[in-house]
């Protein structure tokens, strides 16, 4: 989040300066973009939105710096973000990105250039833009890498053809060395793709040959030396007694097939020979193309099979997931039933508990009453027992008015002592009564 915040701050600053960025700002912008793209935790999509405010150079540099490190998924997202080259700003961004990615991902660079370069001849502004992006400021585009890129050869051929047309124009203003490097790339491409005998290969080589013819002597010799060492089989295409062995364009042949045109090459036999040669070459090229198309078809079939397998796998997965969903649904229903039963049980238990507590309370109250009644009753029993015992001893108690004779007095005294003994036996102690009566 720290990079993103810095990036937003930078974008805000650029907005305030109406899009102007100095070298350090561009460097900082590129670094932040690269950091955000590489960091999986960062929200790069938001960065791509904010990046619209920055100069295309900074954006291209940042993407180029991160390209080889970022995840394939992010590369796809960035590719989707790259705008279609319908405006000048978009064309500039694509061109700069292609130039940047040429070093690390030639295939992507070629695809970007293929999209950038129109089928018809580019206008002056686009030409200037492409030249400025790919060939100026001492930029050295690794055309050699492009030549080896694993993309469709027709695409590479188209891009190299268009670049050659642009760069090899005498008015392009491009220095010899970039044009020399482009030429090497083209020759390598033709050699690698074995297009030396094809019309497009010949077309490309003819452009290089025409360009080489305009080079200074030293550069031409350097090219010849390189060619001899690196691609000797193509030497005859450039340095032979008959320097221009490039196959004639079909239109030329057609033109030559016309009766009036046969005079140009000096005879029917020669023309026939060239037609045969052309047809032979065309046959070989078509054969190769059919083989390539066949291979491509096989590849497509394999891809189709692969996709069908994937579809089957996904269907299996879908079926499995549906089954799982069904199981989970059943399980959920069962759990809901179980929960419902458990809740019912809880309710019943709560009711039982409540009932038990009520019963306990009632039982407790009853027991308390019983204990109280029993305690009172037993105390009463004890009192009654004492009373009964005393009353049995005092059944003959004289009335208060009775005159007490000595004999009766003695009886009463003895009875009194018997009472004291009885009380003691009953557990009622009389502490102040002295012994030794």
């Amino acid at each position: 989040m720290e990079h993103m915040n810095d990036f937003k701050t930078l974008a805000e600053s650029v907005r305030k300066k109406k899009g102007r960025m100095d070298a350090s700002a561009r460097k900082k912008g590129a670094d932040l973009i690269a950091a955000i793209l590489i960091d999986q935790e960062e929200d790069f999509k938001e960065m791509l939105v904010v990046a619209e405010d920055l100069q295309s150079e900074a954006v291209a540099d940042g993407i180029g710096m991160a390209w080889s490190t970022m995840s394939p998924e992010r590369r796809i997202e960035v590719r989707r973000w790259i705008p279609a080259p319908h405006t000048e700003r978009a064309q500039r961004r694509v061109a700069l990105l292609a130039a940047t990615l040429a070093e690390t991902d030639s295939a992507t660079a070629l695809e970007l250039l293929d999209g950038l370069i129109p089928d018809r001849p580019p206008n002056k502004d686009l030409k200037r833009l492409i030249v400025a992006s790919l060939f100026s400021d001492g930029r050295t585009i690794p055309f050699d890498n492009m030549a080896k890129a694993t993309v469709r050869s027709r695409l590479t051929s188209r891009v190299f053809g268009a670049l050659a047309s642009l760069a090899f124009e005498t008015t392009s203003g491009i220095e010899h060395m970039p044009r020399y490097l482009l030429s090497l790339g083209i020759v390598n491409f033709v050699a690698i793709q074995k297009l030396g005998q094809s019309s497009e290969g010949r077309d490309l080589l003819s452009k290089v040959a025409a360009e080489a013819a305009r080079w200074p002597q030293g550069l031409r010799e350097k090219f010849e030396g390189w060619l001899r060492n690196e691609q000797p089989e193509l030497m005859p295409q450039f340095f032979s007694p008959t320097p221009n062995l490039a196959p004639p364009r079909l239109s030329e042949i057609t033109d030559q097939s016309q009766p009036g045109a046969m005079k140009v090459d000096g005879g029917h036999e020669v023309a026939q020979s060239r037609v045969d040669q052309y047809l032979d070459e065309r046959e070989r090229a078509l054969t190769a193309e059919i083989a390539a198309l066949s291979q491509f078809r096989m590849s497509l079939a394999e891809r189709q099979n692969e996709l069908l397998r994937q579809i089957d796998a996904w269907k299996d997965r879908e079926s499995e997931l549906a089954k799982r969903v069904s199981e989970l649904s059943s399980s959920r229903t069962a759990l809901e039933d179980q929960l419902s039963r458990a809740m019912e049980q809880v309710k019943q238990l709560e009711q039982a508990l409540e009932s038990a507590l009520r019963e306990k309370k009632v039982e407790h109250e009853k027991l308390t009453q019983q204990i109280t009644a029993n305690a009172h009753g037993r105390v009463s029993e004890f009192k009654n027992q004492v009373a009964l015992t005393l009353s049995r001893h005092l059944v003959d108690l004289p009335s208060k008015e009775t005159s007490v004779s000595p004999e009766l007095g003695r009886v009463l005294l003895l009875q009194f002592h018997q009472l004291v003994d009885v009380l003691t036996e009953l557990g009622i102690r009389l502490p102040n009564v002295r012994s030794g009566r």
Binding site: Q370, E381, N384, R392, D396, V411, Q415, Q418
Partner: protein, 479 residues
């Protein structure tokens, strides 16, 4: 929490015990003593009361004549005795119900729970009509009798935990009114009553004799010759009361004074030695021990075979009795005195109320056939149930009258006796050979054998008879 009630409906005193949560609760009179089974019935109002006050004033009541003083109602149950009052005639059931109600009221007063149902202990040979009458009295008192249990078996059940290993036990129950001795055999958890003996000389008689002896001494000192019964009834009562107090004092002290502020118009003061007292009651004690000896001999077992002599009842606490039994070689080893002698029967009945056992016939019951053979109807050892069963008999000769003779005999392990006739009765018949006579028989909850018979040809003219002196064994449940 509900308890289990047992009632000892005694001749002199009655007690109730509740067994609840392993504890016994006593219910007697308001002083916690056994309730005197004496009822005072007002001749004018028909109001009845019972208990200690009635017992204490019984002679005064009798002299005044305004109330009936009814003692020993237990012995009158099932009789034709009646007590007319101005508001109605009282039956023995009404009188007994007063005692039972008093016990129930006491239980309610002390534990908030009256007696709804109970097991009642009765003497061994308590007649069938008395049992039935007692059941009716209990119903009047709001008590449902679960079952009857003999007093000796109830006492044994009370101490059964310590008697399970015993084979022969003698229960010596000496209460206020009677002495009841039973020799019991414990076999396979069943209690068989082998023999019984009894007499009416008990605590009350001892008190009376004691009072008479004191009266004699007083007369001697005063040089007078007035008979005891000529003394004022109050003086008689007072002297008996003082003598009873002195009797219990002798279990603790060797001498005591009998004191009355007035006896025959003069103060009475006599010092009495325990030796003198014991010499006075010794004949009663000797007689009681003689009865014990006789009961054991009657049971057909030797003295050595008696494993335990269980001494219970209020009067059994006499020191002289203990001394004599302990010093008698025949009984010394088996002697066991209960510390709660007056409550044991009720306690045993309460235990049975909690875990009821079952009565089993101790004799085989059958019918004597024309060839004098014994046709068994009820086996010995059969669990008693009240469902009626029947058997069909036939005439062996042309006669308008059939004689039926039911008999019992013992088929036990120890001996097989000859059939003894218990019920004889005649049934009218149509008078043809092989005519069918239906005999139905059952034993009701009051342990009475009921039989009836009729000629199938004549239909409804049934003849019914009862016999209430069957002997039963009681199956004591494991405790």
């Amino acid at each position: 929490m509900t308890g289990f009630f047992g009632i000892d409906f005694g001749t002199t005193n009655s007690t109730a015990m509740k067994l609840m949560a392993g504890e016994f609760h006593k219910y007697g009179d308001e002083a916690g003593q056994p309730l005197p089974s004496v009822v005072a019935l007002d001749r004018a109002t028909g109001e009845a009361s019972c208990g200690r006050d009635v017992w204490r004033n019984r002679e005064e009541y009798r002299t005044a004549g305004a109330v009936y003083v009814i003692e020993s109602i237990k012995l009158q149950m099932g009789s034709d005795l009646r007590w007319p009052t101005e508001v109605g005639v009282w039956t023995p059931e009404d009188v007994a119900a007063v005692v039972l109600k008093q016990l129930s009221a006491r239980a309610k007063q002390l534990g908030l729970e009256g007696i709804d149902e109970a097991v009642i202990s009765i003497p061994v040979d308590y007649p069938a009509e008395s049992r039935r009458s007692l059941r009716q009295a209990a119903v009047k008192a709001g008590i449902q009798i679960k079952t009857f249990i003999t007093e000796s078996t109830a006492a044994l059940v009370r101490h059964f935990g310590g008697l399970q290993h015993c084979r022969y036990v003698a229960v010596f129950d000496w209460g206020g009114g009677t002495l009841d001795i039973s020799v019991l055999e414990i076999r396979d958890g069943r209690v068989f009553e082998l023999s019984t003996e009894g007499m009416d000389i008990a605590g009350d008689a001892i008190d009376k004799d004691f009072a008479l002896a004191i009266h004699a001494r007083v007369m001697e000192e005063r040089r007078e010759k007035l008979p005891f019964l000529s003394m004022p009834s109050v003086d008689q009562d007072n002297l008996r009361t003082k003598c009873e107090l002195a009797k219990w004092q002798f279990s603790k002290v060797p001498a005591t004074d009998i004191l009355l502020s007035a006896y025959g118009g003069s103060p009475l003061s006599i010092s009495v030695q325990r030796d003198w007292f014991e010499s006075l009651i010794s004949p009663h004690v000797d007689l009681a021990i003689e009865l014990l000896t006789r009961a054991i001999q009657k049971a057909g077992v030797s003295f050595d075979a008696i494993n335990r002599l269980l001494v219970i009842g209020g009067s059994s606490q006499l020191r002289l009795l203990h001394d004599k039994l302990r010093n008698d070689q025949r009984f010394a080893a088996a002697f066991q005195s209960s510390s709660d002698a007056e409550w044991d029967c009720a306690a045993g009945a309460a235990i049975i109320a909690r875990a009821p056992g079952s009565h089993e016939t101790a004799e085989s019951i059958g019918i004597l056939l024309s060839d004098n053979s014994f046709y068994e109807l009820i086996r010995e050892g059969e669990v008693v149930h009240s469902d009626a069963r029947s058997v069909s008999l036939s005439l062996v000769e042309d006669s308008q009258h059939a004689n039926l003779i039911l008999a019992k005999r013992v088929n036990g392990q120890r001996r097989i006796t000859s059939p003894e006739s218990i019920v004889e009765f005649g049934v009218e018949t149509a008078g043809f050979d092989l005519e069918c006579i239906d005999l139905r028989y059952s034993i009701d909850p009051d342990l009475v054998l009921k039989v009836d018979a009729s000629s199938r040809a004549l239909g409804v003219r049934q003849v019914a008879r009862e016999y209430g002196k069957l002997r039963f064994a009681y199956h004591v449940p494991a405790q």
